[in-house]
Amino acid sequence: MSAAYWRRAMNTGLAAAARPLPLPHAGSVPAAAPAPDPYAESDAPRWLKFLWRHLSARHVFVLAVVFAYPFVATPFFTFQIAGQALALGLIALSLTFLGGYGGMVSLAQMTVAGIAGYIVSILGSSAQTISLGWPWWVVVPFALVISVACATLIGWLSVRTEGIYTIMITLAIGVAFYYLVLQNYSLFNGFQGFQKVYPPTVAGVNWRDPLPFYFLALACCLAGYLLVKWLVRAPFGIAMQGIRDNPRRMAALGYDVVAHRVAAYALSGLLAAVGGILFTWYNGLISPNSVGTGWLINVLVIAVLGGMRHPIGAFLGAAVFVVLQTFAIDVIDRERFNLVIGIVFLAIVLFSPDGLLGLWAKLRSRFGPQAALTSQPRRQA
């Protein structure tokens, strides 16, 4: 795919999406229903209007809670529970974006995250002699660029497939990468991987201490969350959802389906890469097991557990996942604690196919007012 072709494809796609969308469309694709333009009548600063329109009490409440949390919780809860959940949540968010809004379930999101983690380990500093020890402000952009390039490549390979075949091909790519890093010693250091991959000390702050790491992860996650929220209402995101619901019709309308899907992979790759770097810094190490099949599937479990219909689901799922992984062993003090984890996952998915968000929506529709978190038509699956 040449760059010119790409640009053309994206331009036509965006131009088309920027037009008021044809109404007959709205019946089958309510996601594309024309919303009142939030900027039309504004002469105040845009961002302020935007903020006032979109910030509600629950947003303020959640923000207050996440900001106050590390000052109330112990360092253990700040770092191991919340820090880990945020990093994993960001990786799961990339899958939620891809799966929930693009209709493409990729198992290779952890692979993209792992590529970012490996690049950071190889170019940055670690306990291994392979590492080049470059400064972080070179390493991190490099890692992001390479991971996004890999994600684009993975997307380009897999977008021609649908449903279960996408899962198969991305799983194959993930497993291939696992064996590559397991058996390559000159670059990836094989079975051992890299140890002591820590975040840099910037501005006199050790970013691996619980409090700084928490806020670093929180900032990245907020940025990722807002990016996804903004994207899914931008012309590109709306076209994405159209393609998810009916690719043929979107193609007939002049959208380049493949280009949109590959672009979605690239964007989700960026989210996964940031999450991957955070997760590697959190662990302080990366080894082939970090990109093994177990983790490939765990990301899917987290996304499904939380619910794929809204970006917050990824973080909810990650929080539940981490808490269960950490504390299930205290519930049954035996060798069977994995059973507890399995049963909880099974119960959530069984009683609410939409994960925790679906459960929340059910509760809201039963007890609360109608305007539930997930009941707005543009977010319907």
């Binding site: 191991q80 010693y185 662990n283 097991n289 060798e335």
Partner: protein
Amino acid sequence: MKVTKRFAMRTLVGAAAALVVTGAALAQGAPVKIGLLATLEGPFAAGGADGMRGAELALIQRGGMAGGRKVEIIKGSSNANPDVAVNATRKLVEQDKVDIMVGPLSGSEGIAVKNYSKTQPGVTFINGGSGAQATTLVDPSPNFFRFNTEGGQWMVGLGKAALDKGYKRVMVIAEDYAFPYSQVQGFMSEFCRLGGKVPMKAWVPLGGKDYASTIARIPKDVDALLVVLGGADAVNFLNQYEAAGGDKPMMGGSITVSQDVLNYRGKRRDSLVGTIAAGPLADSYDGAEWKAFVADYQKHFPVSKGGYPSPSLFALVYYTNMKAALDALDAVKGDLSGGQAKYREALAKLELKMPTGTVRLDGNRQAIGTTFVTEVVKDGKGELSTRVLRKVDNVEQTLGTPRDQFKIGSRDEPNCP
């Protein structure tokens, strides 16, 4: 009003003081919390469960008490991945507030937990079963102790036994990661020093099942093969080697000559007789203390309750490390005050009486212990079993090389073609 206030104030101060005093007294009699981490999931789940049994046995043997205090074990689990091991350890240390940590089980986990131990100077870390050389050789942690010997030490004595059998040129076939590197180093450093040659080393991928290309590369002029593969993979190799018409005698690593191999039914079965191997334990060792240990294990963990017929390697190493933790608690009478300084001193000085021999620590807090060289023999009923050829005491981690010249084993280290 004023009076009551002052009175109340005094009472409060008094009560607080009383609380502090009783608190301190309680701390002396409070149970010692020991975190116990092993792999209850993943590829070493069975080994991890047996490791737990070994550690529990050490506590059962002294009635759940050490140094006059009750000992409470809090278990953690990992799946042989270093990140999971550190997460589980951090939970035990920071959330459950254990005083002493015993674990983890596998090599790369050990390195990761050692790195973590540096951030927790208030807690004493004792290894579980992990045997990576780098854990205590490179950048050791002042509060990480290892009372089990590691992969390289487990192979000491095999080089001499090979030469005694007349094997002068040996080809190495081993899995491509740190543990087999150290095993091969333990064999070669002695073997090469005594004049043996290793013209070729074949590193096969971990979990690989096809050895055809390796078998094709075996030179005609070698006298024997050193096969450092896990038990089931060793049987795979034997089958394929037999099919290819191979006839070289075999030597094994510490986890190669397992029950899988002894139960091998192929045509080459008889040629297995005389296979030598080395390791930190030998089922057939007939020392009285070892027999007592095995009997005790069988009594508390009979096969009907999930135990093994005889304690596995992991049961022994976890028993060793847990016993060290408890013996040192006895030595300081349960006193963990002063940032556990006295306790650590006691650990460093400990002469640990083990069923297999005495264990001491070196300057890096790494065990100096015993290794057994074993040989496969055929008994009257035609069953294969092992017997002890030689017991080597006081095996050091640097394998007899001066510490400043010692290099950690790798694909190319050591080398004597």
